[in-house]
Structures are given as C-alpha cells and as structure tokens.
Amino acid sequence: MGGLQIPMEQVLALAGLLFSCGLLGLMLRRNIIFMLMSLEVMLNAAALAFVAAGAKWQQADGQIIFLLILSVAAAEVAVGLGLVLQIQRRFKTLDMDQARRLRG
C-alpha cells in the first residue's frame, strides 16, 4: 500500500468543498435534523483535511485527531438528537424558524 498518492491540494479542495456544502446546508435548511447533518458534513470535512495532512507528513497524529473528531461528533450528535426529540415534543415541529421566541 503506497502512501499519499493523490495530490494533496485536491484532497484539501475536496475537504473545502464538503465544508462549504455543510455550511450551505446550515444556512439553507430549517429542519434541525438537516442542520445536524450539515454539522456532521462539516466535521467530516475537517476530519478529511486532518487525515490528508497526516498522510502528507506521514504521521499518525492526523488520524488520531480524526479519531477525536469522531468522538466529538458522536457526543454532539447524541446531545443534539436528544434535543431534537425535545424540540419535537415542545414545539410540535422541527422547523427552527418557528423557534424564535428569543430575539431582540
């Protein structure tokens, strides 16, 4: 198995693309579940960038950070989905545009 055989800037570009997609989703979607998904995409993009960088420097650190991001994502999603349940119960909708009692 070879090392990094792929132009790194292209991997990073892919990561950037995915990151932008995630942000786009965040800005676009009202459904909190989709927002969480966008978040996952963004975290994933960051993880991809780390792994690519790690591969470039032939270090394990990149993958370890990926691992940590993974656990972060898991924890966030766990709490996030718990919130989703509550939101559905209390607001009777997942539409975050409806949840704007706090403003001004």
């Binding site: 009202r30 998904m37 790690g54 032939q58 370890i64 924890a75 709490v79 718990g82 509550q86």
Partner: protein, 178 residues
C-alpha cells in the same frame, strides 16, 4: 511504470470517490425526505472512507465506516423513525427548499469556497510516502495522546449524560401517554 500506472489508477479512483462524496453530500443536503437524505449522507461518508483508504489511512477508513456511517448515522435513523416525520413534513421541506432561499447562502458559500480555493492555490504539491499503519496509530494514541483518550472519555460521558437527560423526558412522557 507500474508505479506510475498504479498512481494514475489511484488518482482515478480518488476522483471518482471525491465526485461521489460531493454529489452524495449535495443530494443529502437538498433532499426533502430525511431518510433519503440520510442514505445519501452515508454514501458520502463511504466515499470519504475510500479517500482515506487511498491516502494510506486504512484505520481511519475503517473507523469512518464503522463509527461514522454505522453508529452515528444509525442514531439519526432512530430519531427519524421515532419522530415519524410524515409526508406533510416532507412536503413542507420541499416547499421551503425552492426559490429565493438559495440566493444569499449560495452566494456566501460560493464566496467561501472561492476564498478557500484561493488559499489552497499554493498548497504543497504531491508527495509520495508510506501509509500510516493502524499499529502506528495505536501506539501514538496510547503514547503521547493517552490523556486525549482519557479526556475523550469524559467527553463521551458528558454526551451520554446530556443525551440521557434530554431523551429521558421524551421517553418518560411517551410512556406516560400510553
């Protein structure tokens, strides 16, 4: 020559995986139906796993599939099933997704992308190297990063307790309702 041919093949594979990842992500985020979106997202994650593999990070690729695509996405599936977001919800989502809503976010994302690409213009060129083996990862993880593992455990504990507290009420209420 072989090596070069392998490289070309790898490159091709990478492009395919990247395209799949990108396309699946876009589709995932533009679906009205949450379950469909989730499937696309999983596809995207799998494609990224392929990229990991191509970059010589098999351990990461495996974890991506097992934990990300497997465990975390299943959580989503649970919630979607539990909430039973019906047809109306889907219809509403579809309605929202059209038209003007795209303009500002689209422009902003495009700008951001442009800026990122500008920044990456001068990114380092291709390097060839050796794959980072799982063993190496493991050694590093429990070497210098041992405290990170410990803290990560606390992080997961926090996620666990939080999820428990938030989800519990929902479950309790549901049971009471029955």
């Amino acid at each position: 020559m072989r090596k070069r041919g392998g490289a070309i093949m790898m490159e091709m594979l990478f492009y395919i995986a990247a395209a799949v990842a990108l396309l699946a992500t876009v589709l995932a985020l533009s679906r009205a139906n949450a379950a469909h979106a989730l499937i696309y997202l999983i596809v995207s994650l799998l494609a990224v796993a392929v990229v990991f593999f191509l970059m010589g990070a098999p351990f990461a690729a495996a974890l991506e599939i097992v934990i990300y695509a497997g465990a975390i996405m299943v959580l989503f599936v649970f919630v979607i099933m539990m909430l039973n977001v019906g047809r109306e919800g889907t219809a509403r989502e579809r309605e929202w997704l059209g038209g003007r809503n795209w303009i500002a976010p689209g422009i902003l994302s495009a700008l951001l992308l442009l800026e990122l690409m500008l920044a990456l213009r001068h990114a380092p060129a291709v390097t060839s190297g050796v794959a980072v083996t799982p063993k190496e990862v493991g050694l590093t993880l429990f070497g210098p990063y041992v405290l990170a593992v410990e803290i990560a455990s606390m992080l997961l504990l926090a996620g666990l307790v939080g999820a428990y507290h938030l989800g519990r009420r929902f479950i309790v209420r549901r049971e009471r309702r029955r």
